[in-house]
Amino acid sequence: MSETDTEGRRIAKEARERVRFEEEALGLSDQVFRVARGLVNSREEAEDLVQQTYERAFRSWRSFTPGTNLRAWLLRILTNLNIDRARRMQRRPMTQPMEEGDYFLYNKLEESAGRPLEEERVVERLSQDDVVGALSAVPHDFRDVLVLVDIGDFSYQDAAQILDIPIGTVMSRLHRARRVLKQELAERAVEAP
């Protein structure tokens, strides 16, 4: 076989691998969008972020190891881009959440319902806007973890890998993120007529 043949085959093989990679990545785009939407404050920002993610992913597809978790790989690009973006926008500094108990939201809703909560689906007292608004008020370091685990359904281990932080940090941030979210929800539930 001539050298040109060998080279031709190599190029064809690489093209096949690239196409396979691109198709697989595109197949995950709705899941990637869902996580992006949780991380940023508007649909437009989420669209931009997803597009940047795919641009970068398609450009650096060779650094993906076939057989490993492509969704986690894409989300690692996405969360890194989002961190850069947040830095550029100089988002408000991370605030320490108030250390209130986890009962806070529960008690508040119970109070406004005027009776114990067992009889109704209490969370339906919160609108979708309340939840989206509350999530966007969670400082972004905490929010990243919350979105990956509670919305993206990633394990602690995967979230740690995506965000490149220790698993203990995932757990502590998750704990705080859930608290802040509940406090934000409680404020909104109280504001409601």
Partner: protein
């Protein structure tokens, strides 16, 4: 520690399915006899489900096409 306090402490890891089998069994045994903790668990679980649904927006219809256009063209 008061069993309800303990239950509250392990509630999040329980819901994350990250407790050991023994720990899980001990939580479930307590839940079976404690309506207060059962309510608390149900509330937290519902809240999670609700947050997930409320924050799950469908991908905008045009986005997939934009992403497809980013692919490297075949020679």
């Amino acid at each position: 520690m008061d069993p309800c306090d303990h239950c509250e402490e392990v509630m999040q890891p329980y819901l994350d399915r990250s407790l050991s089998v023994d720990e899980r069994v001990s939580v479930e045994t307590h839940l079976a006899s404690c309506p207060w903790c059962t309510n608390r668990f149900r509330f937290e679980q519902e809240l999670r489900g609700y947050v997930r649904v409320a924050c799950s927006e469908e991908m905008p219809p045009g986005l997939k096409a934009k992403l497809t256009a980013l692919r490297t063209p075949l020679l």
